[in-house]
Amino acid sequence: MDQKILDRLYDIVGPDGVVAHKSARSVYDCDGYTLEKAVPEIVVLPHSTEEVAAVVKFLNKEKIAFVPRGAGTGLSGGCLPVEAPVMIGTSRLNKIVHIDLLNRHVVAQSGVVNLWVSNAVKEQGFQYAPDPSSQQACTIGGNIAENAGGPHTLKYGVTTNHVLGLEVVLPDGEIVTVGGTVEDVPGYDLRGITIGAEGTFGIVTQAALKLTRQPQAYRTFLAVFESVHHATQTVSGIIASGIVPAALEMMDTLIIQAIEEAFHFGFPTDAGAVLIIEIDGLAASLDPQTERIQAICKHNKAREVRIARDDAERMALWKSRKRAFGAIGRLSPNYCTQDGVVPRTKVPDILQRITEVSEKYQLRIANVFHAGDGNIHPILMYDERNADETRRVVQAGKEILNACVDLGGSLTGEHGIGVEKMSQMPLIFSPEDLMVMTQLRSVFNPDNLCNPNKIIPTPGGCIDVTTPRRQVPL
């Protein structure tokens, strides 16, 4: 990178705000999606919104592309620097600015870790509802970029339902506020369109987040089934009975075994599937719902239905679930997780298709997913040192997503398109749909300097990933 440009960046953020050494910046070569890697030419870590704005303004002037990054826990390569020399990290924007319990909101910088927000208001009986599985490490800014979900979104919604307003540094360096700290702000819902834009509309530096009262009581069930079929029938039965569970999560044999090995929760490793069912709300409402749920499970031949005895057991159960992806590390050196969505009633169909794909490509695929939302997470295991297997994983992943689309679903429920699923966008969007997205991006990001080569495939030149671009930092 040009020394003059480096010097200017040093001027703006100071020496501790620039990572230029080769081995040092190599650690920024990918996020949780490891199939593709690219080392940024420089990483900038600003200490304030103003520094972010100054950096961006300068890059805009020089027409240098850049990519924002939070904690790098994303699963679709959203912060992979593809033809973007500069990476701007939000890790230093890690302050909770303001807590307003009476008005039930928190103002936090975008580098604040998701779980820190809930921890800050826990004692007072509040929570920040979106709880992606990576919540112990992922940042609010990343959650906003991806419109992150989590196991409890069935009842509580996703990130966009819990954000009141954003402070954004636009790709020209201008700082704007979209939305606010009150609920109804006149004008177009720019906050709504910025959330989930995967960092292509600018860099979010601060957000006003809604707080939710912690439920008075929880009840968490672990229902064990002989087959995935019975478990999915149970899911439909619960939904049809008029109950909106806080969470409805399913895990198949392979993932149960991995989790059991990692956390020793006491999952039956010979079960065909388990469901984690959680209801919450007023204590008075739990008994009648429990009766219904137990009856439905029984009706669908549940082998057993366990209820978490206390908060510690409930937390242990959720810990097992939330760390399921990582637990795969015990079964396989690498994994790639897919994030398709199907209408809830099509869950059995998609699982059947996944089994077929697994056989066809001779890959081990574990399933852990948000059954209540129809949001599947097949985990494809591979070893990146085996080039052929790696290629098969890419193909199999695509085939699974195609199947989701066939069944009336979508390519991604919460992980985002990133670089991973860009080439499949035409499966669900027409050229006109993609055109309007390109135009919307131009409204915010006219020169496409901010996180280029993401989400929208370049017309005519779809990058078709069949082999990883780069394996290891060289």
Partner: protein
């Protein structure tokens, strides 16, 4: 490519790059740099091993800054043995990388001090003399260099240093339930002698016959942290020889740092036919004192201790040995004691073996954070299970002028048992 392998390569593949460890890492949260996170360090270690990265100031700087607190292992869902990776790299770094002179001198001094009984006595003498001269008060003086100021700050206060000569054998009080040995430890025996006596007292009150063989040596942890693997192994062998010949139910360790290291003897000698079995056998018996006493049916302590206490999880106890609940349960068993929750209780205090000596700046940042959290609890006593933490936290409390005492778990528990004229 030269052979740069320093650790079992397969261990790198346990890491799936999910990043869940990031926010558990004190240096990452303080600095916000991925190179100072467990995931980043693993990437660098792998690049080193594969020959893609040079062992230069930048890389070594980030690896050196690792506290070795292993909070990341607790956070990791994939079971990455981060400790093994970083400890494996330390000797490699010492062998292939030349540090600046001052840094080399510092490390040499430490490596010579801790494993050697004379060195340890020398160290104790330094601490005692320092304490007697009241050097700690210079910790806030602008007239001396920052590093020195920080080191002086760590010195214990007059009167708080105790060495105790221990007997080799103590009978159980009441009905005998177990035979145990105690690791006296080099820092423990010279600076925290009273804690060793407390350990003996609590064990005896709970029906244990206690053996403390004189021939035992330093556990080797500090050496290993500083990359002196061969010396560390020699010390470990000596301990294995000494303790393995006794007929023990448990080997009790009251310094979390020593415990975490010794519990790895089995792993360390797994390829050594002469020591493999002995090491594995002994490792099975190693128990932190709180872990062991907590597993007994506790003979209820009777003396009231009226205080509000809060518990700090020593890294090498919570993350290194998974001992979290037992010390808290013991504290709850003390009549009159109120136990309050410490925010970020399992966040490293910055002591981390000799870290506060080699990385004073980061250590001071973490200490400030820890003291702030302790202060917020409004407790009178902060309790923990590691001598390094105690020295560090005491220094922090003193510098902030807070009237809060820092005690070892077992000291507080011993308070609650009646004095036994036979041992004191």
């Amino acid at each position: 490519m030269e052979n740069t392998s320093f650790v079992d390569h397969e261990k790198f593949f346990d890491c799936v790059h999910c990043g869940l460890c990031l926010a558990s890492c004190p240096t990452y949260v303080e600095l916000g740099t991925e190179m100072d996170s467990p995931r980043g360090r693993i990437v660098m270690l792998r690049a080193l091993q594969e020959g893609h990265a040079q062992l230069d100031d930048e890389v070594v700087g980030h690896l050196d800054l690792c506290l070795g607190c292993r909070a990341c292992e607790t956070a990791c869902p994939s079971g990455v043995q981060y400790g093994a990776l970083i400890e494996g790299a330390r000797p490699f770094i010492e062998e292939h990388y030349r540090r600046p002179m001052l840094e080399r001198g510092k490390r040499w001094l430490m490596n010579k001090t801790f494993p050697n009984p004379w060195g340890a006595r020398l160290f104790a003498l330094f601490l005692k003399v320092g304490a007697a001269l009241g050097l700690a008060r210079f910790a806030r003086s602008e007239a001396i260099p920052t590093t020195l100021r920080y080191w002086f700050g760590l010195l214990p206060e007059r009167g708080s240093v105790s060495s105790a000569s221990l007997l080799e054998h103590y009978p159980a009080i009441g009905e005998k339930r177990h035979t145990v040995a105690v690791l006296s430890g080099c820092v423990m025996s010279t600076v925290f002698g009273a804690t060793n006596l407390s350990t003996v007292k609590v064990l005896r009150h709970n029906g244990c016959e206690v053996l403390i063989p004189k021939a035992q040596s330093c556990c080797g942890a500090l050496l290993l942290h500083n990359g002196e693997k061969q010396t560390a192994l020699a010390l470990a062998k000596r301990n294995i020889d000494v303790f393995d010949q006794l007929d023990l139910d448990a080997l009790i360790i009251n310094a979390a740092g020593c415990g975490a290291m010794m519990k790895e003897y089995g792993e360390l000698f797994k390829d050594d036919p002469a020591y493999r079995d002995k090491a594995a056998r002994l490792t099975e018996k190693m128990k932190d004192v709180a872990e062991f006493v907590g597993s007994l049916e506790l003979r209820p302590p009777t003396r009231e201790v009226r205080a509000k206490a809060t518990y700090h999880d020593a890294c090498h106890l919570a993350h290194g040995q998974g001992v979290r609940e037992q010390p808290r349960a013991l504290l709850r068993a003390i009549p009159g004691l109120e136990l309050t929750n410490l925010p970020e209780s399992d966040w490293c205090c910055g002591s981390a073996g000799t870290y506060n000596l080699t990385q004073p700046e980061m250590a001071a940042r973490l200490l400030e954070r820890k003291v702030g959290n302790i202060q917020a609890t409004e407790a009178d006593v902060v309790v923990t299970g590691n001598p390094g933490c105690l020295m560090q936290i005491r220094a922090g409390l003193r510098q902030s002028g807070l009237p809060i005492t820092a005690l070892h778990t077992i000291d507080l528990l011993a308070e609650a048992y009646a004095d036994d004229p036979g041992t004191d």
